[in-house]
Symmetry: C2
Subunit: 222 residues, 2 copies
DNA sequence: CTGGGTCTGTGACCAGGTCACAGACAGGCC
DNA sequence: GGCCTGTCTGTGACCTGGTCACAGACCCAG
């Protein structure tokens, strides 16, 4: 029981079907604590290793020259930060910026161990590949939304996504960054939503009144 | 000499550091010929196998509900069509549509062999992963352009990219599809380029006059 | 030479991004 | 309590870009 007790860090590898050796190597990695608001990496950085999130939430943003931002994807517990893989696999630098949205605990798998696991452990490989394919699909969907979708639809979807107990706690600026639009545009759209009786707004929060209508708006074909 | 002669199909695997067994398995796959204009797959299709392009050129487009299109990426000889990997690795369906831009020869590696190669052959794995990471970076860059860039910059870049002998042979509609804009917008932008003396336009072609100016426009920060 | 398909140009209009503000609100400080 | 400063929000003016509706130009097959 004494030696067998694994730190929480190994829990995430549970469903992965690894050899004992690999399991031990992963369990030995020290988890790192990141406070809310910390920046895990910036655009142009080169990957240090492969990052897996144990708890909390990390959000990866793309930033334009004008300072406008858009949420590329969020990394939840048990998921890996795919951007880190790019550097390890193809020598690409990061193009996004990773912010810690909720205080998080992460494990960093160094280059060498990562390469070793990719070569020897089919389970680990599957984990990385699935995560990667998933992100690729996510980013493609996002591109589709940005290229062809309306702000109205993206805003409605984001509100539904962020709602907790019928309300969203976020400033208009934060909402704008998520959907890759401008703060003023969010202000005007929210006002339109309000006029239609879909939401109530207050400083730093949006209360959802007519969820069905928002769902319809989010799913609008054009 | 008789047995050693490999069909062209195996040439692409040359730089890949594979076992003889794998090399033979790949060489045995029958290359398929695709005529210009053929559609390799559509959005929603499920992957049949992993596609590698031997010659020609395949372009993958994303299509919006209004019929507007945007070029996701092009697959050149020696490269793989990453979208096919999504299905194989994560069960995702295609989100793009692959058109044969120049008559192409491709090899289709069926599911089973693909999985086997991924497990056993480090060289093949590296090939797939690098291609994948590359595409991920491409799509992210494209997203950045679409979300934050101007049509003027994307159009100028596309003209420079497509130019052969100082001219681009493409209709305004084709140019629009490449950059994810509308035909009318391309018409007006080209007219503006013309007024500044950067290009001459004719039905189905654009002649580049001031390449330096176009380069400046393509690199514009905003 | 003519008729249908394709390519291009244009005006009008709307959605959305940018700029420049002004007012509203919150929390800290005297 | 009143005041100050920073943040959040609302608004008008203006520009780019996407959409719609057409008209004219071009091209080639019959």
């Amino acid at each position: 029981m004494p030696v067998e007790a694994e730190p929480a860090a190994a829990g995430w590898a549970g469903g992965m079907d690894l050899s004992d050796r690999a399991r031990r190597a992963l369990a030995a990695l020290p988890p790192r604590d990141l406070p809310r608001g910390a920046v895990l990496f910036r655009a142009g950085d080169l990957a240090q290793g492969f990052v897996v999130v144990l708890s909390g939430r990390i959000e990866v943003f793309l930033t334009g020259p004008s300072g406008r931002e858009i949420l590329l994807y969020a990394v939840e517990p048990g998921q890996s930060c795919v951007q880190t893989t790019l550097g390890l696999m193809a020598g690409e630098t990061y193009s996004g910026e990773a912010h810690v949205a909720e205080a998080a605990q992460v494990v960093l798998i160094p280059r060498g161990l990562f390469a070793e696991l990719m070569d020897d452990e089919a389970g680990f490989r599957g984990f990385v590949l699935r995560a990667f394919a998933q992100r690729m699909a996510d980013v493609t969907r996002l591109l589709e939304q940005v290229a062809f979708g309306r702000v109205e639809a993206r805003l409605a979807a984001t509100l539904l996504d962020l709602a907790e107990g019928g309300a969203v706690l976020a400033t208009q600026g934060e909402l704008a960054a998520r959907i890759g639009s401008a703060r003023e545009v969010v202000s005007r759209r929210l006002e339109a939503f309000h006029r239609q009786g879909w939401v109530e707004t207050d400083r730093g929060q949006v209360r959802l009144i007519d969820v069905a209508a928002l769902r319809r708006a989010a799913a609008a074909p054009l």
